[in-house]
């Protein structure tokens, strides 16, 4: 009776104020329920990424620091670079007269492939014309992949 009524009244008051605060603090604009609040920044496609890196290594007067910086950054990413990027990087090594770095790059991408043992042979297969043209030996040719 009256105590029960008294009990329910504050509960009802709380719930109405609660509903109001919910609508106030909802951050998104009123849109269909399925939309999410993702950033509207443009996502770079794989092709754009590849093109950017090919261009980076293709700089005719690239210097040793830029090659190192580029390669170390590229290896830092969670991916194995495409053969065309590596081709560009190997040609940059040639312009810098740095065979050691070229071999190191090949070692690095093999290491980057991790447990996926089929990536490296594919890369070598794709890079074969470049390797022959520039005279770069693979680490396997030199026996450097084993201890």
């Amino acid at each position: 009776f009256s105590p029960v009524g008294k009990m329910f009244r504050p509960v009802v008051r709380l719930s109405t104020s609660g509903v109001r605060s919910l609508t106030r603090t909802r951050p998104c604009y009123s849109a269909p329920l399925a939309s999410r609040c993702y950033s509207h920044a443009k996502v770079e496609t794989d092709e754009e990424f590849d093109a950017r890196w090919v261009t980076y290594f293709s700089k005719p007067d690239i210097d040793a620091w830029e090659l190192k910086k580029g390669m170390n950054t590229l290896i830092g990413y969670d991916l194995v670079p495409e053969p065309k990027i590596l081709d560009s990087a190997l040609r940059a090594c040639r312009r810098l007269n740095d065979l050691a770095s070229a071999i190191r790059i090949l070692e690095a991408v093999k290491d980057k492939s991790g447990p996926h043992k089929d990536i490296y042979p594919y890369l070598i297969q794709e890079l074969q014309p470049t390797l022959i043209e520039l005279g770069i030996s693979t680490p396997e040719d030199l026996g450097m992949d084993i201890l």
Binding site: L67, K68, M71, N72, I75, G76, R94, N97, D98, L99, A100, S101, I103, R104, I105, E107, A108, K110, D111, L134, G135, I136, S137, P139, D141, L142, G143, M144, D145, I146, L147
Partner: protein
């Protein structure tokens, strides 16, 4: 004008070593050149995530190495395998295979573990003999027999537990 103060200082420093000097040399006030400590210069290190370190591994090249570096400027196809390996070793200390080689440290770790577990076991045995007093009389088998009998007489857990497993007719445990 041709030989500015700055150029003289850099030439002097280039005689000290072939390391890349990244710090700019401030010559204001005629204080001279700041001493560049070894630890402040770029260092060489072999790491998987940094395949091309900031400096070459070998800083002072021998005559053979210098001539090899000159040959490197030409076609690489003319280089023999040994020469290519030599060029690699000038720039880098360890190959990826060598860098990633595991150590045998785990054997030491397991051996250490067993050793210390064994030591602990000896300590526990010693403790049992020399530290702990006698066990209470309630652990003696005579006492335990009387205890069990008392529990059965009291019909402890007669439905599914203790006494339920005792066959009161044949005075033995149920099979």
């Amino acid at each position: 004008m041709l030989f500015s103060f700055r150029m003289l200082a850099t030439r002097a420093l280039s005689l000290v070593g072939k390391r890349a000097i990244s710090t700019s040399i401030c010559l204001r006030g005629g204080h001279g050149v700041a001493k560049v400590d070894d630890y402040a210069l770029p260092a060489y290190f072999d790491r998987r995530e940094n395949p091309l370190p900031d400096v070459q591994f070998v800083t002072e090249l021998s005559a053979v190495q210098k001539s090899l570096k000159e040959k490197e400027k030409g076609s690489w196809a003319t280089l023999s395998n040994e020469e290519k390996i030599a060029l690699y070793r000038i720039s880098f200390k360890q190959s990826f295979a060598e860098m990633n080689e595991g150590t045998k440290e785990w054997k030491s770790v397991i051996a250490g573990m067993f050793f210390f577990i064994g030591m602990t076991g000896l300590v526990v045995l010693w403790q049992r003999k020399f530290v702990y007093g006698p066990v209470p009389p309630t652990f003696e088998s005579e006492w335990k027999e009387k205890e069990v009998q008392r529990m059965l007489d009291m019909r402890i857990n007669p439905v599914e537990g203790f006494s339920a497993k005792w066959d009161y007719e044949n005075k033995e445990w149920k099979k």
